[in-house]
Each structure stands twice: as C-alpha cells, then as structure tokens.
C-alpha cells in the first residue's frame, strides 16, 4: 500500500499544479496577449504606509499596503499564524482576535485602522507551557477536531465571558434591565459568530462552562 500514498500536503501541491496548468491552457496566443497588454492602462502602484502595530504587548513597525487587513498583517507580516483565515468575510469567526479587550473579526478591519490599539491574538493568551485557562479547558474537553477554528473560538470565548461579566445583554437575555446570567444558553447565543465545521460545539460549550464555573 506504499506505492500510492500521497500525504495531504503533496496532494494539495499536485492539485495546485493541475490548476496552474488549466490557467496556462486558457491563456491567449502570444500575439493576442501582447495586443491585450498594449490596451491595459498602467496599473496604479499602491502607496505603502508605515505603521506601528502593538500585538501581544510588543510593538512592530511594519510597512504595508493600506489594503492589508489586520488578519493578513498578523499572519503574513508578523508570522502570527494562530489567527486563521476561514471565510475572509466575517462569517466564520476563525480570525477572531481581541482589540482593546473586545473580540473582533480581524479579516474585516484594516491593519492601518488598528494603529494605536492593543491587539491580542491566540499567541498572546497563552503558551504551550503556560496555557490560558480557556486553552486548557478546550484540551481537557476535546473542544475541537481539526483545530482550524480553535484559536478564534478561544479568543472569542475569553472575550465573551468578559462581556457577560461587564453586564452586556444578548439576544437570549430575558430581562434587559437586569445583568445577564452566565448560562449555557447565553454562551451558545454569544458564540454564534464562531463556526466549527467539525461540529465540536458541545465540547466547546463544556470547556466554556468550566472556565465560567457553571454546569454545562
């Protein structure tokens, strides 16, 4: 069975080559391509901006295209690849980070807009030797399968519990004039911006409940 045993990575590489091939086939004949190029206006060169990003307590001076999202700046420039790019349109929550204590989707904000703010990523919450209680609880309760959504889930969950502590209501809060209670129903509603395609939701809920000190 070892003759054809491609690893997942090799398979991805192979399909990328195949996709590249399809593009090459679709290309114009050289003379037609030259004519097309002649008609194309000179592309505008983006003006790079120099900004200071404060991430996990460390300042980083980076020069980047203003189009760079916070997520791309974290991953591609600062090599903090814990935050994941799932949908890149704010629907999946895999890119959730904490800015000035509040959870946001880092794919829907520009890095230049976050200059002067305190950004915390999963790398800043804990380390393998010194886990954040939420990280430890996710491991204990097996709150993941493939792990892709996990950094976003954990950042979201940590900030979400703070929102309840601060008294912020949710869609399922009964009486708006009273502080919300930390209940599994509240956790579920408040975590709806974090999708898990493996369906580890019930274990994620148990992990959150443990950190919050309530029964799941």
């Amino acid at each position: 069975m070892t003759e054809f045993d491609p690893t997942r990575r090799q398979l991805l590489k192979a399909s990328a080559i195949a996709a590249g091939g399809a593009v090459a086939v679709g290309r114009l004949a050289p003379e037609a391509e030259a004519a097309a190029v002649g008609q194309v206006k000179q592309l505008e060169v983006p003006v790079a901006v120099n900004i200071l990003l404060r991430v996990n307590g460390t300042d980083h001076q980076v020069m980047l295209d203003p189009r760079t999202t916070l997520l791309d700046a974290l991953r591609e420039r600062l090599h903090l690849t814990g935050s994941k790019k799932g949908c890149d349109q704010g629907q999946c929550g895999a890119c959730t980070v904490i800015v000035d204590g509040r959870r946001i989707t880092s794919c829907l904000t520009l890095a230049v807009m976050q200059e002067g703010h305190e950004i915390t990523t999963i790398e800043g919450l804990g380390t393998p030797k010194n886990l954040h209680p939420m990280q430890a609880a996710f491991i204990k309760h097996d709150g993941y399968q493939c792990g892709f959504c996990t950094p976003g889930q954990i950042c979201s969950a940590v900030a979400m519990l703070e929102e309840i502590k601060a008294g912020a209501p949710s869609h399922v809060t009964g009486d708006l004039t009273q502080p919300p209670k930390a209940t599994p129903a509240e956790f579920r509603e408040r975590m709806s911006g974090n999708l898990c395609r493996c369906g580890a939701y019930s274990n994620i809920q148990e992990a959150i409940a443990e950190v919050a000190g309530v029964k799941s």
Partner: protein, 316 residues
C-alpha cells in the same frame, strides 16, 4: 481589492470637506460591510477617510428628554446602554438580533444605517444588478427571490434593507443628524432617510456627496411594551426573513415597523390606528400595495402571524 489611499480625519467638518474634495472617497468606521464589499470589488473607493478618531461615540441625553447616539457608538455598546435597555428596549433587542458578537463590537450606528443589501444578485458580480451597475437589469426579478422585498418594490429592484437596528429606529421616530462639506448641519427624519428603489436603486438614502452622519437622536421615551421579533432561517446570526418592531401601549394602541420586506424599514402610520383590532387589520393596510413573487409570497402571512404573536405577548 482595488488600491486606495488612506487618511484619518480629525474633525467631522474636516472629514466631510475631504470627502467632497476627493473623488471616489468613502468614509470608513467599523468597516464590516464596506471592506467585505471592497474585497469583492463591488465597492471600489479610491480614498478612505477613517472617521474612528472623531469622538462621535458618546450616548447622551438631549435637552427634551430624549437620547443622542453618536454616529460611532458601536452596536454592542448601544445595545448594552442602560438607558436604551430601560427606555428603548426595542432598539436593544433589534441590535442584539443582528450579526454576531464580533461584528457588533465593530459595527457603528451610522454604518448600520448605511449598510447595503444582502441580495445575492448584488453580491454576485457575474449577475445583472441595477444597484451595483445601473441599467444592467435585475437578476432577482424572475430569479430566486425568497429573501426579497414584497412592498415598495420597482421593476428595477426588489432588494431589502438588511438592518435590524434601522427598523427599531423607525418605530421610535429617530432622527439622523449630519454635517455637510460646507460645515452646515441638518436633521433628517428616519422616515425620509432611506429611499425606495424606483428607477434609481443605486441611490439608497438622502445623504448628499460628502455628507457625514454625526448622530442619531431618539425622542423622549413613550413607555409601553417594546418587542422586536425577528424570524430567520437560523436561531442566531442570520438576516431576517421578516421582522416586527413594536412599541405597544396598555390600551392596545402602538407603533409597528417591519424589516425584511422592503428597501427601507417599512412603517405605515395610518395602519396603526387599527392596532386594537388585531394583526390582520394592521397588516392588510401596511401591505396593501404588496407585490410578491412566487418565492416570497409567504412573507405576507408570516408578517401577519408574527405581529399577532407580538400583540399577544404585549397583552401578557
């Protein structure tokens, strides 16, 4: 994403002047809708004016007993404000029924009013859309239109306005305060803020080029029972099929506005006289001009049943 230049504005007047001066400029606040559309090249601003430093995030009482909500107040902060929770519960409820915790932390009051439709034909650049490319036609008319508008529609567009917050503001008779590029200010009643599509669905509101929203004001609280009932395909984090925002007094009178049915929050003040007669009378008048498709005709009955449920809840 198309290339753009970026600046941070220091005052509302300066921001408005800069926007009028620079062709292709847009304001950015939360960015949750604009950046999404920029990635798809549906929005292609050449210059972004970041308004986040304008200190327009305060929520403060007005001299006449109402509330003035800064344009930059984040959706989550507005929903959590003690005065809003106590006196304008329908607004808190509407905000909390929209988006996700992360998005509500970013999205602003003004940005929420200005968010663009979620019509799939608007989002798909391979499809015709009079809103995205005026004159190209409407893919939704004759297409898949389950999510689309049933009232106030035109032959050019049947898109809905996606906001929950705006529906609550409509039922509360909110007013939108703005500053113009020449420095003058004006107040636009929420009823006149959003436009119906007509032949110009790409023009969605009453703002002039460069005009910047600075605040939304709410009149003095009217009491009553505040209810926002949103019906959607998922229990959380989904746009409305329809929604009902209602403020109902003990005698059965009250105000009602609908979301998910039109190009703007839908309210028919004349229909509110029939509130004590029940949901059917109100909805018949509110939706008398309805023009449904095979896919979305269910919304008429859904509105009626949802309002009936809301009225029953208000009675207690």
């Amino acid at each position: 994403m198309k290339s753009f230049t970026y600046e941070r504005a220091n005052s509302p007047a300066e921001a408005a002047a800069a926007a009028a001066r620079t062709q292709g400029a847009k304001f950015i606040a939360g960015g949750t809708n604009l950046l999404d559309l920029m990635k798809l090249q549906i929005e292609t601003p050449t210059h972004l004016i970041d308004v986040n430093d304008l200190a327009l995030d305060r929520i403060e009482p007005t001299p006449d007993g109402g509330l003035r909500i800064g344009a930059l107040a984040r959706n989550s902060d507005l929903a959590a404000d003690a005065r809003v929770r106590r006196d304008y519960g329908v607004l808190s409820r509407a905000l909390l029924a929209g988006a996700s915790g992360q998005l509500r932390n970013q999205a602003t009051t003004a940005g929420n009013l200005l968010q663009r439709t979620r019509c799939p034909y608007f989002y798909d650049t391979n499809q015709p859309c009079n809103k995205r490319r005026p004159g190209s036609g409407c893919g939704a008319i004759g297409g898949y239109s389950r999510l689309h508008a049933i009232v106030g529609v035109s032959d050019a567009c049947i898109a809905t306005h996606p906001s929950d917050m705006a529906v609550a503001m409509r039922v509360l008779d909110a007013k939108v305060e703005t500053i113009q590029p020449n420095g003058s200010v004006r107040t636009i009643p929420i009823a006149d803020f959003h436009r119906l599509p007509g032949n110009t669905p790409h023009l969605e509101n009453a703002l002039q080029p460069g005009e910047l929203i600075t605040a939304v004001t709410l009149p003095k609280p009217t009491g009553g029972t505040h209810i926002y009932r949103k019906v959607r395909d998922r229990a959380s984090y989904a746009f409305a099929l329809i929604s009902v925002a209602a403020v109902i007094q003990r005698d059965g009178n009250g105000h009602v506005a609908l979301g998910g049915v039109a190009h703007k929050p839908w309210r028919v003040e004349a229909a509110e006289r029939t509130m004590p007669d029940g949901a059917k009378a109100v909805v018949t008048e509110m939706l008398s001009a309805a023009r449904t498709t095979q896919d979305n005709a269910f919304k008429v009955l859904l509105v009626e049943r949802t309002l009936a449920s809301v009225l029953a809840e208000a009675k207690g």
